[in-house]
């Protein structure tokens, strides 16, 4: 049974209510904008690897809001130390969702370093994130994301997916527009 990022994001789009979503660049940003356009999203345009850091900053600043990070395996490898920093702070309102497709799909599908040997769940657990697990089917994904949305506690969820094989969706927003929408959302919270 294989799973694709788009079907995971479709499931997530059904579940998300007032959570903040921070997306990695490329496919994640493109699909999320199509599936769930809303002010409570913050999309990375560039800065590969930084979605987890931005999500951590938001989660620490807004402890009453759940924050979901949409990360990729290539992105996480660029910023692997963040697992340790996240574990140190362990914000109970942060879900780090990793799409593990073993390639740099948004930049052309090139193979990831150390592919098939890297165990991201073990890395997260080794960093001190106890609530770390892998999901391989849409049903497992749905159950895990539902649980993470309901339960307080830092969660690391690695979704083993296959490359999409479809063109990357358009992403027409500029950084200024992304910031404007996100800050409107923050102001609506009374911050």
């Amino acid at each position: 049974m294989t799973m694709f990022r788009k079907e995971c994001l479709e499931i997530l789009a059904e579940k998300v209510r007032d959570e903040i979503v921070v997306t990695n660049l490329g496919y994640a940003a493109g699909w999320w904008l199509k599936l769930k356009p809303r002010d409570g999203n913050f999309y990375l345009h560039d800065s590969m690897g930084m979605a987890s850091s931005v999500g951590l900053g938001i989660a620490l600043a807004l402890p009453q809001k759940k924050v979901i990070v949409l990360d990729g395996d290539g992105g996480l490898l660029l910023n692997l130390g963040i697992l340790v920093t996240m574990a140190e702070k362990s914000p109970p309102n942060l879900i780090h969702l990793l799409f593990n497709n073993r390639c740099y799909e948004s930049s052309g599908g090139q193979c990831l370093v150390n592919v098939e040997k890297t165990d991201f769940v073990a890395l997260a657990k080794g960093a001190g994130i106890a609530n770390a697990q892998e999901v391989k089917t849409p049903a497992e994904f749905e159950a895990a994301i539902e649980f993470a949305l309901r339960q307080p506690g830092l969660a690391f969820l690695s979704a083993r997916i296959e490359p999409e094989g479809t063109p990357m969706p358009d992403f027409p927003l500029t950084p200024a527009e992304i910031k404007f929408h996100f800050q409107s959302y923050i102001r609506s919270l009374g911050k």
Binding site: T85, K179, I186
Partner: protein
């Protein structure tokens, strides 16, 4: 007789009075005291970093979420942040404060820091980051509101380059 507050105590108290609540840090020997103070302070969110570049993302996230934030790092750590500063806070226009210990220039006692001293200001200038160089505790405390105001006006991160004397190290 009451003892005078140290330069680090004065710096932290000024940062807090300017509304800073979240601090990302990675130690330099010159910033040991301010980081110890942050770690012990229940009124702030202290985020020790594994690598400085993470802190750029964390400060962007916190600042966008309405929590003024600052990084306290060495200039070598600033070098680790350059690509991300260019691609994130400068593109999205997010202000925060970079408090950088300026190793390798005046007051330096280690020869291996000297190259960092040579490249620090040219790199800040290359990014177009406005900065203030401070060389006493008084200048450091006075620079905080000044630089922060400019950063907010321009919606960009800005830096304070801190000499050894400024930190009382």
């Amino acid at each position: 007789m009451e003892s005078q507050p140290s330069p680090s105590q004065r710096l932290l108290s000024e940062l807090k009075s300017q509304g800073f609540r979240l601090f990302c840090t990675l130690p330099d020997i010159w910033t040991t005291e301010i980081i110890d103070l942050l770690r012990a302070d229940p009124e702030v969110i202290h985020v020790p970093l594994a690598r400085e570049e993470e802190g750029i993302g964390i400060c962007v996230g916190a600042s966008l979420a309405g929590t003024p934030s600052a990084m306290i790092i060495q200039n070598a750590g600033f070098f680790n942040c350059i690509g991300t500063i260019a691609s994130m806070p400068l593109r999205y226009e997010v202000p925060f404060l970079l408090l950088i210990s300026y190793r390798g220039l005046w007051g330096e006692d280690k020869p291996f820091h000297v190259h960092k001293g040579m490249y620090t200001e040219p790199l800040l200038q290359a990014l177009g980051l406005t900065y203030k160089l401070v060389s006493s505790p008084e200048e450091l405390v006075a620079a905080v509101p000044d630089v922060w105001r400019q950063a907010q006006f321009s919606q960009r991160p800005m830096a304070i380059l801190m000499s050894r004397e400024a930190l009382g190290a």
